[in-house]
Symmetry: C2
Subunit: 204 residues, 2 copies
């Protein structure tokens, strides 16, 4: 076996890339050798952007969304509907819902979903402080993902709020609608989606 090794600076950066989700040893190596052919200025700006990520962002103390200000622009916006609280898994979900332009209430970002297989329980999420945000709320929209983890999280939240003696008679709990996405083909839809779409049918 030859003793020729990659330079330490190369393997160190390969290690950094390998820690990212979905990046294996081979693609980490490929990324590093790609960067090796980049001008030094590019690498410096990449490094700066990494350092800026945490320094220039903050989690909003109210909704826990990623923001430049605390409270975040949505929490600070007085024109929004205080009677609705939408619970989502990730900051990107807030962005997607905002793009839809169909929701004008407040948000609460959990930063994940309950996933026992990945050692993520309710304690690892911004979940238990939802109770502190219920003043004046008439509806809680559970907009976690329609995945096993998202469903479990939605269920957990419902039960948690009941046990925390939140007056669920006054607050309506809703789950975001499931069914066929716009532009989809019934022919190719999976059974679970179709069964949810049938359950969620509406009078025309």
């Amino acid at each position: 076996m030859s003793s020729i090794k990659l330079p330490r600076a190369v393997t160190d950066l390969v290690d950094s890339f390998e820690k990212l989700p979905g990046v294996g040893p081979k693609s980490a190596q490929r990324l590093v050798f790609y960067l090796l052919h980049n001008p030094e200025r590019e690498l410096e700006s990449f490094a700066e952007n990494l350092l800026k990520l945490k320094k220039n962002t903050v989690l909003c103390e109210q909704c826990h969304n990623v923001s430049e200000t605390n409270p975040c622009p949505i929490c600070a916006d007085e024109s929004r509907d205080d009677s609705m609280l939408c619970i989502v898994e990730q900051p990107l979900d807030v962005l997607a819902l905002e793009r839809s332009d169909a929701y004008k209430g407040r948000y609460h970002v959990l930063h994940g979903s309950i996933a026992p297989l990945n050692n993520i329980g309710p304690e690892q999420l911004y979940l238990h402080d939802i109770v502190k945000r219920l003043e004046g709320v008439a509806e809680i929209v559970l907009a976690t993902n329609p995945t096993m983890e998202g469903e479990a999280t939605a269920l957990y939240i419902t039960e948690y709020l009941t046990q925390a003696s939140v007056p669920t008679t006054e607050i309506v709990m809703t789950r975001i609608g499931h069914g066929l996405p716009i532009g989809a083909d019934i022919e190719y839809a999976d059974g679970m989606t179709l069964s949810r779409a049938l359950e969620g049918r509406r009078k025309v």
Copy 2:
């Protein structure tokens, strides 16, 4: 359309990731939000490793391999066979050949292959200085990849060396062997590989 945007620090880092090959906007976003949940120390070490990459490495002036020293350990090793020169596309190819323990000669790293579709011509590669390295060389092994670009590059090198009046009567030009990889199944081999494997058959 809502005016809610991601913080600048987030979009800047998304941009940096998007520049990497094979990373689209969606996966760049996912990587950034993953990093957002990492401790700051991790981000700092990632940034340090990026900055170290070019500062602590150098391209060997002789073979152009990535190294910590110039000349690189292989070029500096006097026990290696000066009569063989193996031309490869990438530094990782050198590493793979070294792992095989089947080659004891010198290397020459092109840092790419001729790919007109990506605007990479012979001028963008460390190709024309091969002629300066032929003293005492008895065999040139063309070990570019068995892809369209690799084949074109091997062909170009052969023609270039002939035109540069390299005494090709004294220097044998060989192409690395093509055929079935060890452990492969003839049933599943593609036609091109099988035809190359038949061409390269040997007496037992």
